[in-house]
């Protein structure tokens, strides 16, 4: 009946279409609300680090800004925290009232050192990228070996995962950098770091892949064998594609964690990445908080990019669900 109505008026929609549109509308509204809340949370975060102070007492409200200022004490220059009033409103809470304080960030320091600290991004991205590639390969090999019925492979995989997960990453980095030269294996700081990070995250991620492989139903394998696939073909064409879909979110999680663990590689003294740059500049100028905030901005941006990529891959692999 509605079909007839549709052809007659040309504007009338079917019930199914209406339902579909209502759903889309709901989805859009949800998205808009999520974005709005993100924006509010982000502005709140900015406010916390804005160095502003709002004081409402004795019937007046004062907006002021905290800053570091160079003052001369006993003939010596020194930095002092000072408060300058921006504006005053003749309304406010009575008596003591309320003072809203925010965290003082030295803006001059941030301006002066932003680009220098950002220079560490090159090393952070480089080390993370190489480590991610190595970790993925190792994790896949370890997960497959773990499923092997050949004892040495199984032992190799479980021994590797047990040893690496059982020891600290910092020790592993120093092992490759400072212990291996005794065997005449000489590595640069970066190589040692990438190897250690790759091995470390490979061990953790192999468990994710293993769980992914195990999540593929036994029936799938039996069906593959029944239509004449070899075990290798079964793994490649049937099990792994399905296992991967399951593994993507936790693997993305590990990649994000790794970008921050890449900072440990700086202990070798030859990898001048984000955190290292921030710590050195921050410590020598007594502005560790400011310096690490600058580094944090870049880590966050990297995380947002990685999350975005993960989302794309996820939705692509999810196409099989329809």
């Amino acid at each position: 009946m509605s079909e007839i109505a549709n052809t007659e008026t040309g504007t009338q929609k079917t019930h199914a279409q209406q339902l579909h549109e209502a759903q889309l509308q709901k989805k859009r509204q949800f998205q808009a609300n999520v974005s709005l809340t993100w924006l509010i949370l982000f502005l709140l975060l900015l406010l916390i680090f804005s160095s502003y102070e709002i004081k409402s007492s004795n019937g007046t409200t004062e907006f002021s800004l905290w800053q570091y200022e160079t003052v001369v004490i006993d003939g010596k220059e020194a930095l002092k925290k000072t408060r300058s009033v921006i504006s005053t409103i003749p309304f406010g809470l009575p008596d003591e009232g309320i003072t809203l304080k925010t965290i003082l960030v030295d803006r001059d320091f941030v301006k002066e050192n932003f680009s220098f600290i950002a220079g560490g991004l090159y090393w952070t991205v480089r080390v993370s990228l190489f480590s991610i590639i190595l970790a993925t390969i190792l994790a896949l090999l370890a997960a497959l070996a773990r499923l092997s019925t050949f004892p040495p492979f199984y032992a190799l995989s479980t021994f590797y995962v047990s040893l690496i997960r059982g020891t600290p990453l910092y020790l592993q980095i120093l092992f490759f950098f400072l212990a291996l030269p005794q065997l005449n294996v000489r590595m640069t700081g970066e190589m040692a770091g990438v190897l250690a990070l790759g091995l470390n995250y490979g061990a953790y991620m192999s468990e994710i892949f293993r769980a992914g492989i195990a999540s593929v139903g036994k029936g799938q394998r039996e069906a593959a064998i029944a239509i004449g696939m070899t075990p290798a073909q079964t793994m490649k064409r049937v099990v792994l594609p399905q296992a991967l879909r399951f593994a993507i979110p936790p693997v993305g999680n590990d990649f994000i964690a790794m970008t921050k663990d890449s900072a440990l590689v700086a202990a070798t003294g030859f990898v001048h990445e984000l955190t290292w740059n921030a710590q050195k500049v921050g410590r020598s100028q007594f502005r560790s908080l400011e310096a690490l905030i600058i580094a944090a901005i870049f880590y966050w941006i990297m995380t947002i990019i990685l999350t975005y990529i993960q989302g794309i891959i996820e939705s692509r692999l999810a196409k099989g669900d329809r």
Binding site: P181, Q285, F286
Partner: protein, 300 residues
Amino acid sequence: MKKLYNVLVVAMVAALVLTACGNVGTQADNLLDDIKQRGYIMVSTDPNYEPQSFLNTDGKRSADTKCPSDALTTAEMQGFDVDVAKAVGEGLGVETCFATPDWDVITAGNWADKWDVSIGSMTVTTARQQILDFSVPYYYTPAVVAVRADAGIGSLADLEGQALCVGTSTTYEFWLNGDTEGLGLPEASIYAQAPNVTVVPLPTDQECAQAIAAGREDFVGYVTSQTVVNANIAAGFPVVQLGSPVYSEDLAAAFDKSSTLPTDTLRAEVDKIFTAMHSDGRLSELSNNWLGEDLTQAPN
């Protein structure tokens, strides 16, 4: 299957033995010659401390540097230690490059030939002498206790039962822990015994000062060199130096005892350079420039 397993085990053992036997040949038979052959000396320093050693964030690496790409050049570093290292490079007729590992990695020795020498205000102690060789001192700093200005503490005795902060693996930590053996200074250069306090070690001395400046009250003060306290006060930190220095440190260049190539000729050469710089006043000048006073004269 069992045969394959045996083959695999043999192969793994063989691989291990082979890596152990592989040898990287160098022509030089001591570290000094090696440095002269490659044309640069790799100096380790910890750029956490202005004015001794800190980064020059505006510094541009020169295009014709001999330094490996992952090492820092003299253009990217600045400070008293850095200038001393530069002078050592010039004295040897080679370029100076910098490696910047964590401080505790430097003091632990076993550098695996990654850098040739540490010129980073390292205190000469008996414990460190077991794993490192030292040059003659190039300057001397008094170690002092700094306390929060409003803590109401007037002497070392007032500190009893309080908490003090130190940078980890520093001589200040040894002194506070009463570990005179670890400190390993001659008795004449220790002026005071550490009070009975709770020791709070943080990654570096600078974290101690910043924690106090941030208003944290986990400790009333910290132990560090006088130069660091002066820099902290100049930065507007609410701290004061407590009384007179508690001990004096000899600061020298350090060499790794486990170095593959012998370091004795290099050490002799560095000693010669330092002695010359002491007598012609170059060290005093650098000290006055960077530290605002001459700390290169041995205390009596």
